[in-house]
């Protein structure tokens, strides 16, 4: 099946915007963190699809495979894969910290709703 990169980009944009909408409108901290994870997933899809070449092999050599420059090179771009690996790990780190802070806040306020976390003497 032919999928061009533009379709993939548009899918990733839609997922990204779903995440943004969730992060703006939700009042529950866990849901906000979930929205941030959705945004990260969209980013990973986008980054991978910048290196996607239709009908190409994965960038892993296996037995009998040759890479001969300049013409017989039929693999997708390995660099975005490496970037995505980094981005995933960074996303995991941020989510872990976010969950820790949320647990802490829940212990203080006994609620996850952002609107009910205000104090009177703020200024």
């Amino acid at each position: 099946m032919m999928i061009d990169n533009r379709t993939l980009y548009i899918y990733s944009f839609i997922i990204f915007l779903i995440g943004i909408y969730g992060a703006i409108t939700n009042r529950n901290l866990i849901k906000i963190l979930v929205s941030l994870s959705i945004i990260e997933t969209a980013l990973n899809i986008f980054l991978v699809s910048t290196g996607y070449i239709n009908g190409s092999n994965p960038p892993i050599l296996h037995s009998g495979m040759k890479l001969i420059s300049p013409n017989s090179i039929n693999i997708s771009d390995p660099l975005p894969h490496a970037l995505v690996l980094t981005a995933i790990v960074i996303g995991v780190g941020t989510t872990a910290i976010g969950i820790g802070l949320t647990i802490k806040l829940y212990n203080h306020y006994k609620t996850l709703n952002v609107n009910r976390m205000g104090d009177k003497d703020e200024l």
């Binding site: 990204f16 941030l36 945004i39 990260e40 960074i90 941020t94 910290i97 949320t102 806040l105 200024l123």
Partner: protein
């Protein structure tokens, strides 16, 4: 020439942050010793690099033995290395204060501080756009942790706000990187800046605005500035110093690299952008609005730390405003204001903390009778205020003066810049003088006890104040530094040449 000292500025703190955790499990003192000695190592090697940059020009450091467009590289320019030394001094002050306190999590926090040092060094030195992203992430995660260590409601809330803002900012940044890589096929900053002009109309706008949005989220600029109030008021003293001093240096440097070197095109007197809309108007609107909003927020706050936090955000916006005029005078003004803000803000936080010591609430009234309680730090506070506001002969005065001059060069923005600067100075004067007035109010009913100052506080306060005085009484020295920095910022082709060996850009 492959000069490897800059990479050690990043590698040594990382190495010792692991070691600090291992050794700190036996004795907490060891990790504190490691922290201080690593900073001293970094200061000394920073000065060595500064000297060789003065002698040889920009220094390229190759990582992994692969030359620039293929591998990751570090570039030490005059700007980055002089910012770095300033950053290390502020960091030394903050970590001395950290060391003087007892904390049973000292090994972990000193490990976080070392990574903070490594990441801010990495941001200032790296020549690769994705590497910059990685370091920004480390930087913001360590900021989040440092804000949250006070374990109060306010600090946890502040750090969670910061986390949400920065992760949205980071995602915008990554989208920009994806687009740049998809179009240009490279991640090297020099090569991107060489080829940015060739990108098509809408892609350019897209990349520019996404990067702008992400950087604004990190920069404490107006629509994203609501995390400041909680995170400054709810965090510890040394974290305040780091947030106000280090974060502004780092944010400023990211702005200079991305929006002046990569996206901008320098000519003899000003930067220009090859974008379809007027970038300078956009910048002036955003940063001008940010100055005004932050000043008003500072005016309306009662908590002293909150006032100082909003004031530091507004002065950062003022620096960015004068940078984004793109004129040579404007950039020089930005550097002069930056020097005074970066040194005086930590001094203000330090001295206000000492003046309010022993008072339960940290609001305006805890400043009453401060001069009789703590004369030394009251004087230091006044020095800090004068430097920040722009008392004659301080660098900030010359900076604001130059900004007025640069405003006269550019006819269409003159009134706007003048109005914003005068407005900010007036409001700043108002709320700082209110604080200073409170220092001298005598309350006859209460017997005044002199506050005992810790030696570390006295040392760091006097260190910062003497740096300010040094910059003020040696105007030619300051002028020399600032002119060299400005020259370096405008030398885009030099930056590219030091990385890719060649690459002429057309002067327009």
């Amino acid at each position: 020439m492959n000069y490897n000292l800059p990479v050690l500025l990043i590698a040594i703190p990382i190495l010792f942050s692991f070691l600090s955790l291992i050794l700190g499990s036996f004795n907490k003192i060891l990790s504190k010793i490691i922290l201080i000695s690593v900073i001293i190592f970094n200061i000394i090697s920073g000065i060595c690099i500064y000297n060789s940059v003065l002698k040889n020009g920009n220094i390229l450091t190759v990582i992994g033995n692969y030359l620039p467009p293929f591998g990751i590289n570090l570039i030490s320019t005059y700007t980055s290395i002089s910012f770095l030394i300033l950053l290390y001094i502020v960091f030394l002050v903050a970590s001395l204060i950290f060391v003087s306190k007892n904390d049973d999590r000292a090994d972990k926090i000193s490990s976080v501080l070392l990574l903070y040092l490594a990441s801010s060094t990495g941001i200032l030195l790296t020549g690769d756009i994705f590497n910059l992203f990685v370091f920004i992430e480390i930087f913001s995660i360590s900021n989040i942790i440092l804000i949250s260590i006070k374990d109060k409601k306010l600090s946890i809330k502040g750090s969670l706000k910061y986390l949400i803002i920065t992760s949205i900012g980071a995602s915008l940044y990554l989208f920009g990187i994806g687009f740049l890589y998809g179009i240009l096929g490279t991640l090297n900053l020099s090569e991107i800046s060489l080829n940015f002009d060739n990108i098509s109309y809408f892609s350019k706008v897209f990349i520019f605005l996404f990067f702008l949005g992400s950087i604004m989220a990190e920069l404490e600029v107006f629509p994203f500035n609501f995390w400041i109030s909680d995170s400054y008021a709810g965090s510890k003293n040394y974290v305040n110093i780091l947030l106000s001093g280090l974060s502004s240096i780092v944010a400023l440097y990211i702005f200079i690299r991305l929006f002046l070197t990569v996206f901008g095109y320098p000519t003899f007197i000003s930067f220009s952008y090859s974008l379809p809309f007027n970038v300078k108007t956009l910048f002036l609107t955003i940063f001008g609005l940010s100055v005004i909003v932050n000043e008003l927020a500072a005016l309306s706050s009662k908590n002293v730390k909150r006032i100082l936090g909003f004031s530091s955000a507004s002065s950062l916006s003022l620096i960015l405003l004068s940078l984004s005029t793109g004129l040579k005078n404007g950039v020089m003004a930005a550097m002069l204001i930056a020097i005074s803000v970066i040194i005086s803000k930590p001094l203000l936080f330090l001295s206000s903390h000492q003046i309010m010591k022993g008072k339960g609430e940290k609001n305006l009234n805890s400043f009453i009778d401060g001069f009789r309680r703590n004369p030394l730090f009251s004087i230091l506070f006044i020095i800090g205020v004068f430097t920040l506001v722009g008392f004659p002969l301080t660098p900030s005065f010359w900076g604001k003066f130059l900004l007025f001059i640069s405003a006269t060069e550019k006819i269409s923005y003159t009134t706007l810049i003048l109005v914003i600067v005068v407005f900010s100075i007036t409001i700043e004067l108002f709320y700082y003088f209110r604080l200073m007035h409170k220092l001298f109010i005598k309350d006859e009913n209460i017997k005044v006890e002199k506050t005992k100052n810790n030696f570390v506080y006295i040392f760091s306060g006097i260190l910062l104040a003497s740096i300010i005085i040094f910059f003020s009484v040696k105007p030619y020295f300051t002028q020399n530094i600032v002119e060299k920095t400005t020259e370096d910022i405008f030398d885009k082709s030099g930056y590219i040449k030091s990385c890719l060996k060649s690459g002429e850009i057309d002067d327009r």
